[in-house]
């Protein structure tokens, strides 16, 4: 098991907002009665005049953020992933995406590792919903260090963006120096390998790294890609990996439909690339309450299953 330092990406978000709030006087933050959970409360305490509590009224919050963006503000909007996307799809569509508004939706509590709250709160469709939205950039940071850097990029680059992190503490993968040059839309090759490529996003990147170590012991050389940006997808990197290794596994804490796995499949198919391929994710079902690790085991989303799938498809 990992002995890596555990840090919550939500805290990294809160800290990044404070730092960016100092630099960008036009940065504002909106939340829907979840600021203690999303950690926007950190910004609220530091810059109360630029924090807007919108109450349990998410639809209004999204359109309000768009109105603020039309006045030159950089609004960061936060709530749980399930409320930040599905509940407000139409508001995002009209007021943010169609209007090309400079609004940044930063959602927490994405995926099934939300745990005991159950399927009502386990958002496994958000990446797909946001990916079909024209003009929208879709991101799933993998650890706290990367989250901090990505929040900065979101603030400093123009356009509608959606990012999601999980609820739980997550093992630290990166040092600051590892992420200082990352670019939205460019995947990170964090382990090189020749036999198989594991393209992971968000909370599945760390298990992919663990799986890489385990596969090494089995004499399988795995390449690991941290695909933090799901849209625009780094198609060149996907094609390169497909050509240089003998198979691809995608891993995401999300439905296998429409998210990272769907996006990679589309790239492979449209480029006439025939390769061994498997999408790891939630396979078109709603999950259930339970401890996060228990659920990740039950729904086959951990390093053990990455290893199994890698061995299986390479056979």
């Amino acid at each position: 098991m990992s002995e890596k330092k555990m840090v919550n990406p939500r805290n990294a978000y809160g800290e990044a907002l404070i730092e960016l709030g100092k630099k960008h006087k036009n940065l504002v933050v909106l939340d829907a009665d979840l600021s203690k959970s999303t950690k926007t409360i950190m910004f609220a305490k530091k810059y109360p005049e630029r924090f807007f509590e919108m109450g349990i009224a998410e639809a209004n919050m999204i359109s309000t953020a768009a109105g603020m963006a039309s006045c030159g503000k950089i609004p960061f909007v936060s709530t749980f992933a399930v409320f930040a996307t599905g509940r407000v799809y139409d508001q995002i569509r009209m007021d943010i995406a169609y209007s090309d508004a400079n609004v940044k939706i930063f959602a927490t509590h994405g995926g099934i590792s939300v745990g005991k709250d159950g399927a009502s709160h386990q958002m496994i469709e958000d990446l797909a919903l946001m990916r079909v939205m024209p003009n929208m950039t879709v991101i799933a940071p993998s650890d706290a260090t990367q989250t901090g850097r990505i929040v900065q990029l979101m603030a400093e680059e123009e356009g509608p963006m959606y990012a999601r992190v999980g609820r739980a503490d997550a093992p630290l993968i990166y040092e600051k120096s590892d992420v200082k040059d990352i670019k939205l839309g460019k995947g990170m090759t964090i382990r090189d390998g020749l036999d198989i490529t594991i393209i992971a996003t968000g909370t599945m990147v760390e298990p992919a790294l663990e799986a890489q170590k385990a596969l090494k012991k089995e004499k399988i050389s795995a390449r690991v890609i941290d695909m933090h940006t799901i849209k625009p997808l780094d198609e060149k990197l996907v094609i390169k990996c497909a050509k240089e290794t003998n198979g691809i596994i995608t891993a995401e804490e999300h439905s296998v439909i429409g998210g990272l796995g769907g996006a990679v499949a589309e790239v492979l198919a449209e480029n006439n690339i025939s390769t061994k391929f498997y999408r790891m994710g939630i396979r078109d079902i709603f999950c259930e309450s339970g401890a996060p690790a228990e659920l990740m085991e039950k729904y086959h989303l951990n390093e053990k299953y990455i290893v199994k799938n890698a061995q299986r498809i390479l056979k």
Binding site: E49, G55, S63, T64, M68, G72, S99
Partner: protein, 285 residues
């Protein structure tokens, strides 16, 4: 003759007739669109753009401009005609409503048309957008006012009431909401489809300052707009009592003209009626 607050009402009414003629021509050419709710909204729009709001059509992004948000986006022809008459873009562009490769989409889009503040058409969003503009205005200590017109049927959308609650919570006195109370929506009378009464009391109970006017009477509209600007600590909602299809006799209070354009005969008849009104007003000025 300046008959109200330095404004010549006949001139405003003449502008409104021109706007109504544009609407009829636009919808006739486009062979689709929404005459009824466009015509009912015209007088409030003309009052705002020709006698009340501060803006410069040459600088549509001026940070100090007053903002108008058409939440009932299907009244786009009325907004487009008023923007063109105000100088935001060439009046000739109006004939291309709903045509491919043209700027004027079926519903307003802020990235396409100078002067359009918000992309609307899916009902219920505009007041929330207005909240954002108003909050930004307070934050930046700007003195602009944000005007948002909603349809009466549109207020069936739950988001309107989220926005109403937030506007009063934040004491957004720089918002003036307007409800185009024409009593008709696609499926019939608003009180049969989903009753809205008591409209004034609903808004009052959400913490709004409420005014009610004849939405085709310029003195009343302008007086209410002025009062709303001056009212502090609460947002103001102006109930505009209007007639759907106003200005064209056979369209008035006729729900069949909610979303159906005039055919050739109807267009000729409408233009004839409006031209008579136009000549009469010209003679009075």
């Amino acid at each position: 003759m300046k008959d109200y607050d330095g404004k010549n009402i006949n001139e405003l009414e003449l502008t409104a007739v021109k706007v109504r003629k544009h609407i009829i021509e636009m919808l006739y050419r486009a062979k689709s669109g929404h005459p009824g709710g466009s015509l009912s909204a015209v007088d409030a729009l003309v009052a705002l753009y020709f006698a009340h709001m501060k803006f410069n059509p040459k600088k549509p992004c001026d940070p100090n401009r007053d903002r108008f948000i058409l939440s009932k986006g299907h009244a786009a022809p009325a907004l487009y005609a008023v923007l063109a008459e105000s100088g935001y873009f060439d009046i000739k562009e109006l004939k291309n409503l709903r045509e491919a490769n043209c700027m004027l989409q079926g519903h307003p889009v802020c990235t396409y048309v100078p002067g359009v503040e918000a992309s609307t058409g899916s009902l219920g969003h505009g007041l929330s957008f207005a909240n954002g503009v108003a909050l930004a205005g307070k934050l930046d200590k700007k003195d602009y006012q944000v005007y948002c017109m909603m349809g009466d049927g549109e207020t069936g959308e739950g988001q309107i009431w989220e926005a109403a609650a937030v506007a009063s919570h934040y004491k957004l006195d720089n918002i003036t909401g307007m409800v185009d109370r024409n009593f008709l929506q696609i499926d019939g009378n608003t009180e049969d489809v989903l009753s809205l009464e008591p409209v004034n009391e609903r808004w009052k109970s959400f913490g709004w300052h409420v005014l009610e006017v004849n939405g085709h009477n310029y003195k009343e509209i302008l007086r209410a707009l002025k009062k709303a600007d001056a009212y502090k600590k609460k947002p103001t909602l102006i109930v505009l009592n209007t007639t759907k299809g106003k200005g064209v006799s056979f369209m008035e209070n006729n729900v069949d003209f909610h979303g159906v354009p005039p055919n050739e005969m109807e267009r000729n008849l409408a233009i004839k009626e409006l031209t008579i009104a136009e000549k009469r007003l010209e003679a009075l000025i």
